[in-house]
């Protein structure tokens, strides 16, 4: 499957409540070695519901500080993001752009910021 098939999918919990759309995908490098790259990247979670623009602008990272106005505009979106551990995912329907997870959206917490 392709990464693009996951992006934009609506994430819904057991009761059908939506956590938002997938905006990014978190990976860890601990899979079997691949070619000359090293350990391959493994999918570990979904970043959901955060306004894509804010993250794209880069204000999550410590490296971006200014300008003040853009930071304010971008920041208001990022606080609503949620992290979905890949273990919670029960089904993925790329055609319908829908991902079903176990548990409740209320149990999800915001994603840890990346360095």
């Amino acid at each position: 499957m392709r990464l693009s098939e996951l992006l934009g999918c609506e994430v819904v919990d057991e009761r059908g409540r939506s956590a938002g759309k997938v905006h990014d995908v978190r990976m860890v490098q601990d899979g079997p070695p691949i070619g000359q790259f090293g350990a391959s990247l493994r999918l570990i979670g979904l970043i959901v519901g955060r306004h894509a623009i804010g993250a794209r602008f880069g204000y999550d990272r410590g490296a971006m500080k200014g300008p003040w106005l853009l930071r304010q505009l971008a920041g208001s979106g990022s606080r609503s993001g949620r992290y979905v551990d890949w273990e919670l995912v029960r089904s993925v329907d790329p055609a319908g752009a829908r991902i079903e997870i176990a548990g409740s959206v209320d149990d999800l917490s915001p994603p840890e910021p990346m360095p």
Partner: protein
């Protein structure tokens, strides 16, 4: 070689990044990523390749424009296969502000359209192979 255990957000760190080959030449962008299930457990997904070129970009853009782009690109690549050009993840050297590769771009599937353009058009013009200016 990358340090093991590193965590990254693929959309931010990989997608839409420039691919740079072993000679420092530009080799396209990371348009999409190929995820393959593990043999032991189909729920575990690994990144096995970078997908690049109009076919892959079409997947990102979606819709009718996307499908059209994909068909045009497959024709140009002179292949009957219905899949985009693939850069195996094993040739990735480093993920930084760009994605550096271990190989030269000629060895990549993604170079076919560039080669087509070179042979069909540019090579016919005088001075195409002259030293850079």
């Amino acid at each position: 070689m990358q340090a093991a255990g590193r965590v990254l957000d693929a959309g931010l760190k990989l997608l839409d990044r420039q691919l740079i080959d072993s000679q420092g030449m530009l080799a396209g962008k990371v348009d999409d990523l190929e995820l393959t299930p593990s043999e032991d457990d189909p729920k575990v997904l690994y990144v096995t390749a970078i997908l690049a070129g109009p076919g892959a970009l079409a997947g990102r853009l979606g819709g009718r424009l996307g499908h059209l782009l994909e068909r045009v690109s497959n024709r140009l690549r002179d292949t009957a296969e219905d899949r985009p050009a693939r850069v195996p993840f094993g040739v990735v050297k480093r993920i930084g502000s760009a994605v550096d590769l271990w190989v030269a771009k000629e060895h990549l599937e993604t170079d076919r359209v560039e080669q087509w353009a070179r042979q069909t058009i540019i090579a016919k013009l005088p001075g195409a192979g002259d030293a850079p200016q």
